[in-house]
Subunit: 268 residues, 2 copies
């Protein structure tokens, strides 16, 4: 039987807020078993770019990454945020190691090719070295991943943290019984984006299609769910989307939205 | 018999110069056996501080590290420089992992206490986890160390790269036959600081005292040499000081200055 591993993606809304980040890291530190944390970047990179007067351009929520911007996100994500998290975890007796995708060649990516938009140094993931990550996680280290990858030819690339979490979960599922948890600012997948009480407890592909057809799922949620189904199809045991603040209940499966391949496996 | 390990300290004069850094990394990549690279910061941090209008103050060549400056050095050293080096090494088929002292609790330090100068968040090393580093180095990964440590209580600290190289060499000498090489801008320890041809091939404590008494050693060299003798006393096999450009001859012991405990072990 495989051991359990949790992979948690934590977004900018927590990274940007010292109090919430502290609380989150205390919860993460106390989580038993193998674990991986994938962090996004939050507003720190945007703020540093503004201070340095480097104009930033976003297309569909993605940061166009010119050479100067790549330097900024490498500094902020792989340097400041990653190492601050690692030091904070060590202080909580959680042995942690902070890496980006270039380290030990863990995540290889290629520069995004797009018909109409030049995203610059944005990387789309080619492969994750699950074996290497599994060895680290199995040695008792919490692996803290910054959303920077490389192309194998010396080029660092800015890569979406949600995608890194998903691809890492897929690669690790060969070695661990893997649960992927996306912590974000809402209670889960909501019927009314403004009302946490409308959280859908569980979604399978059939429910997903129905909700999409009925226009009941917030557009921004659709790629997250599509990715979640893909991760499940590739061997990830469970995907949960919810609020970091609801940690205990989220871990117990009592809150948030659980994404599953089949809500009624026996046709009930 | 212990395996060989090289630990190379590379300074700002190489980090700041893309062409020299490229050449250095190619040589480092081709070095056989276990290896560790400790890099300094160079002028990038100073430049970023200037761009952000954060005044910098140096005392005896050490950067006074207030909270804002700590953020800068963490970003530049542990982020930009460390990850750029790792990606460049991967491109040279050298499996590398970039870490700072907080990662896996590798280097614990304390905030410097000084009678008259407040150095801010500057750390003096308490201990290096040689076993963890040895495991990484023995697994075929070149370990790339940024000069940032932590105090175990969540505080990152800016730490002198020469000291990190020395303390790391000492800790690793329990596991490997360790050679410590300081690459800097001169050919070695010089009798005339402006003339590379006056390089002293080998120095032991007796020669060192004589040269000091005669005022023949450049003041800035004295702490480096004192540290080198201390490292040798603690089990490091060999310490060499020289120019990165002279790599092949430096590795062969044909150039640079070799620091040794006893030039004439049999009283010859």
């Amino acid at each position: 039987m495989k051991k359990n591993l949790h992979i948690i993606k934590v977004g900018g809304n927590i990274i940007d807020d010292d109090t919430r980040l502290d609380a989150f890291l205390s919860r993460f530190a106390s989580l038993e078993g193998a674990k991986v944390l994938v962090h996004g970047g939050g507003k720190l990179a945007t703020r540093l770019a503004a201070d340095l007067k480097i104009p930033q351009q976003m297309v569909d929520g993605r940061r166009i990454t010119d050479a100067e911007t790549l330097r900024i996100v490498t500094m902020v994500y792989a340097g400041l945020i990653n190492k601050s998290i690692v030091a904070a975890l060590q202080a909580r007796n959680c042995a942690a190691i902070g890496l980006c995708g270039a380290d030990a060649d863990i995540i290889r990516a290629h520069k995004r090719q797009h018909a109409t938009t030049d995203y610059g140094f944005v990387g789309d993931v080619d492969r994750v070295d699950g074996r290497r990550l599994a060895e680290l996680a199995d040695s008792g280290l919490a692996v803290i991943l910054a959303p920077i990858t490389h192309d194998g030819n010396g080029q660092l690339l800015n890569t979406n943290a949600d995608t890194i979490a998903q691809e890492t979960a897929k690669a690790l599922s060969a070695y661990f019984d893997t649960t992927l948890i996306y912590c974000f600012e809402k209670a889960g997948v909501l019927l009314d984006a403004e009302d946490d009480s409308t959280c859908i407890p569980a979604i399978d592909p059939v429910t997903f299609e129905t909700l999409k057809d009925e226009g009941k799922i917030f557009a921004g949620m659709i790629p997250k769910l599509t990715n979640a189904f893909q991760a499940l199809g590739a061997g990830v045991g469970k995907v949960v989307i919810g609020k970091a603040e609801d940690w205990d209940r989220l871990m117990a499966g009592e809150t948030g939205t659980t994404i599953t391949l089949n809500l009624h496996p026996h046709g009930r």
